[in-house]
Amino acid sequence: MRGARAYRALQDGQLVALVAERDAGALEALYDRYGKVAYSLARRIVVDETLAQDVVQEVFLSIWRDAGRFDAARGTVSTYLLAMTHHRAVDVVRREENLRRRRTTDEALEFEPDPKPGVEDDVEAAERRDQVRAALAQLPQAQREALALAYFGGYTQREVASLVGVPLGTVKTRMAAGMRKLKDALREPGREDEAEHPWSRR
């Protein structure tokens, strides 16, 4: 283990390589970078604090056990880690159907309009959030709703169709169009080759 400062200088991919060599400090450094966003996502999906903590703990321990599974050719560390967080949180929601009943549909259905004022936040995470929210704001309401139900609600396309009251084909079209627009809006010109998340460049 080296000092915390040494880890901060490393890129995400280098941290994962160290984790694969059983370097606990590297895992902690990854947690310091992504623990908060992972927890925020898990909380948003499962609502319950304890379950959200379980999800995040599982994600980081699974990276600890199986860092070798991360394939840099497939995407960045942040994509991998947050996708895993999403999968597991959605899985919890699907198993615990009562979680869904506990929240009102409005909560589940929409991406949140604004962060609550006064929330301490990382500047770069805040920038990223603004960017994603601006991209979401450009989508037609029906597309945004379909994506939110799937992403935060953990609903399948057929479930979304019956909740919204439209045919399954319409939901498929809406999700495809919505994702395509988000992809275009979030494209970072000239940064395609930069495999790592901005946080890794500290």
Binding site: H86, R180, L182, K183, L186
Partner: protein, 261 residues
């Protein structure tokens, strides 16, 4: 389905929102389609960014501490004496890593990974899909839980071109469970087959233990065969749906039990 239909499914796929039929169809298509594969990668990156739209919530310090604790427990050196001065220096970390699944911590880690895998397995089941597959997975999970609690059961690590897997086997009970995590998807009409190979025998003497198709790389396969404590295990790709009587290809995964310290 036309290619355009598949292109449209990519969004639902990366969101994990496809119905099982669509998901299976899309996965098969994905193997041969570089266009859709590229599209899935791009969309996965978008899904990763969506996480940032959630309102930031500070995790409790206890979460960081809990992760640290678990990691420290798993990282603590064990069995250093057993490697001895005679062992080649280069071999030490390897031996070390191989032994860890036979320890209690290793056992717990296997238990945790089974729970995680089960979760991933259920990921593919829609709420309406509580049918045979569901029952089979429950049965496999129960068998895995029983084996984990059985002190006579052994953990066998399998490795190979197809990644890694873990088998829990019990010689007294002649039963086992194979847990895979990231097996490559199969072409239509092909299956994976599990084999037990008695010590000293060639692949031709392998005993078939069942066939399976992973879902998103994940499988929890229950099997019964005359297990001996030194038996090694392998997985090959075979013609489906029934598999073969003897292996017709080289194993994509194989492993022998590590001797207990």
């Amino acid at each position: 389905m036309t290619h355009t239909d598949f292109e449209q499914l990519a969004a639902g796929y990366v969101l994990g929102a496809l119905e099982p039929d669509d998901e299976n169809a899309f996965q098969r298509h994905l193997e041969g389609c570089t266009v859709c594969e590229a599209s899935v990668r791009e969309l996965e990156a978008v899904v990763g960014k969506l996480a940032y739209s959630a309102t930031p919530v500070e995790p409790p310090p206890s979460l960081r501490a809990a992760i640290q604790r678990e990691v420290a427990a798993a990282a603590r050196p064990r069995g250093v004496r057993a490697t001895g001065p005679a062992a080649g220096a280069g071999d030490v970390p390897r031996i070390h890593r191989r032994r860890w699944t036979t320890t209690l911590v290793g056992r717990l880690a296997v238990a945790a990974s089974i729970v995680a895998l089960l979760a991933m397995g259920f990921w593919n089941l829609s709420l309406q899909d509580q049918n045979d597959r569901y029952q089979q997975r429950i049965a496999a999970f129960e068998q895995a839980s029983r084996l984990l609690n059985d002190p006579a059961a052994q953990t066998v690590r399998l490795e190979g071109s197809a990644g890694r897997a873990t088998a829990l086997v019990s010689s007294p009970q002649d039963k086992g469970v194979l847990i895979t995590e990231d097996l490559p998807a199969l072409r239509p009409g092909r299956v994976y087959e599990v084999w037990g190979i008695p010590k000293g025998e060639s692949l031709n003497e392998a005993v078939p233990a069942g066939v399976f198709r992973p879902s998103r790389g994940v499988a929890l396969v229950r099997f019964e065969l005359p297990v001996t404590p030194t038996m090694s295990f392998g997985v090959t790709e075979e013609p489906g749906p029934a598999g073969s009587r003897t292996p017709t290809s080289n194993p994509v995964l194989a492993g022998a039990p590590t001797t207990r310290a």
